[in-house]
Assembly symmetry: C2
Homo-oligomer: 330 residues x 2
Amino acid sequence: MLPVALDAMGGDKAPDEIVAGAHRAVAELGVDVALVGQPEVLEPLAGDLEVIPASEVIPMSADPGSSVRRMKDSSLVRAAEAVRDGKASAMISAGNTGATMASALLRMGRIKGVARPAIATPIPVPDSSPTILLDAGANAECQADWLLQFAQMGVVFARTRYGIERPRVGLLSIGEEASKGTPLVKETNALLAASDALVAAGGAFIGNVEGRDVMTPDVDVVVTDGFTGNVVLKTLEGGMRALVSAIFGAFGSTPETQAASEVLVPALLPLYGTLDPDNTGGAMLLGVDGLCLISHGSSSATAIVNAVRVAKELHDAEIVDSLRAAVAPA
Amino acid sequence: MLPVALDAMGGDKAPDEIVAGAHRAVAELGVDVALVGQPEVLEPLAGDLEVIPASEVIPMSADPGSSVRRMKDSSLVRAAEAVRDGKASAMISAGNTGATMASALLRMGRIKGVARPAIATPIPVPDSSPTILLDAGANAECQADWLLQFAQMGVVFARTRYGIERPRVGLLSIGEEASKGTPLVKETNALLAASDALVAAGGAFIGNVEGRDVMTPDVDVVVTDGFTGNVVLKTLEGGMRALVSAIFGAFGSTPETQAASEVLVPALLPLYGTLDPDNTGGAMLLGVDGLCLISHGSSSATAIVNAVRVAKELHDAEIVDSLRAAVAPA
């Protein structure tokens, strides 16, 4: 397997935690990792790891489109080029999500037949495999036929990544009835219900689902536009954070509760592990002609190890070929 | 104060819990409550309470528009008529939300100048006043000028209901920058930023907010279209339920954790109370020419008591007059 091209400059904890994750991934997984970024920053940290030089860094808050066009020697653009040029098996970044997407799209191009790439984000579900939410933010505005393609690609991702044989696809709406929702949702519902392509991709359309279904085992792939998907993702992040922080506050409120909560920690660890975003392995940009994984901005070394693990699994499973087959024009 | 017209037939636990709530509200709050619904069902339960007869019941899952037009002697339509006809100070229902909305809109009419009524739902925030989310589901598709009006009305609601002197209004989007989001969001951002009407209503526009801000003390009123708002509301419901149920599962996993968790229950009770939807007093339909409160479908007697309490507070504070002033055509 070719090395994984890791944007060593992207993320709140770059470069130290990102590079530390690369070293751990090499040691723990036996996967080759190339660090992409400024040689003067990375060489003191790189040890035996290859450094793919890139003189520029796209800031977390920069406008994606213009910065990718302007900063041709940025770590994100160089990482995407390494995949395009057959020098890397995948790219991973914890940096500017929009710029990661734009770099991958502009340098790798789209899989033939794909209208728009979409971000597929695994949403943790206690005691179950995660629910795949897509589009989690790549396209603020969507058309029904794009959403159909997101469904096909989401099915391939759910099967490849989580071994779900026949993923159940739900369309996010504000009521289960096909008549509920926006014109986009109604049109997409009809397309999904009639789609041979979704069935051919191995998915089963279960109709509309609601926000309350996302974190349940009742659906495997939730399809929506990138505006709604991003709002859902961040609403859950914020809600979980508020609740967990309030619970920890209650745990620490007196010496008695403090002592009692210490007894509970081991029982809560598996749940904590399920919800920790460092453990999901990141989101995947589906539809570009290569493997592109997006880690969250606050990724630790552990998040990078898990992203590299997922990159290896998806590479070995040849997911890009499966996506190509699923969306191939009839 | 005129009696509150309570739809005694609406809600998963109707009529028993609803009527029990009415009796408790009368006893605890000294507010007069009239039960609206089928006399043969209600009279055995009503005791001293007035029964406003209505022979029909709109099912929870019925299509709102057509059922309200067809079922003119339904409890929802009769409750709305009681407010319109000056026989009741407010209506409350835990039944079909869409039909509640349609009944109020068709029978009470809109406040002059209001383009569309919106559902304002208080989202609990630990250790803070709730965040008002609107529109939480009345209008799946919206225009920018409607969202501006939702902001004005939301400000009046936040001030009247929670005493927030100068409510901070955020526009829900997928990034803080004004350039982020759908065309609707961008247009609304510009309108809100330039709006004298919002300032006149007493609100302060703080720009775009994201899903992760909803359950924080950083914003008082979150404005969005009814599709996104409903998805956010239900996503939070589902996320909270998944997390709380996983935590309870961990608490009960061994005799030791069970014993420890019993020590923690008193410390967790305030949080539990904050999150319990029975305690919010329900959502308000803003923009109709009268008081209409919407309780959640699984409302218990306690939820009804709280809804009656809120109806009394909002009636005494003359919120409908304040809304009228806030949206009056210049």
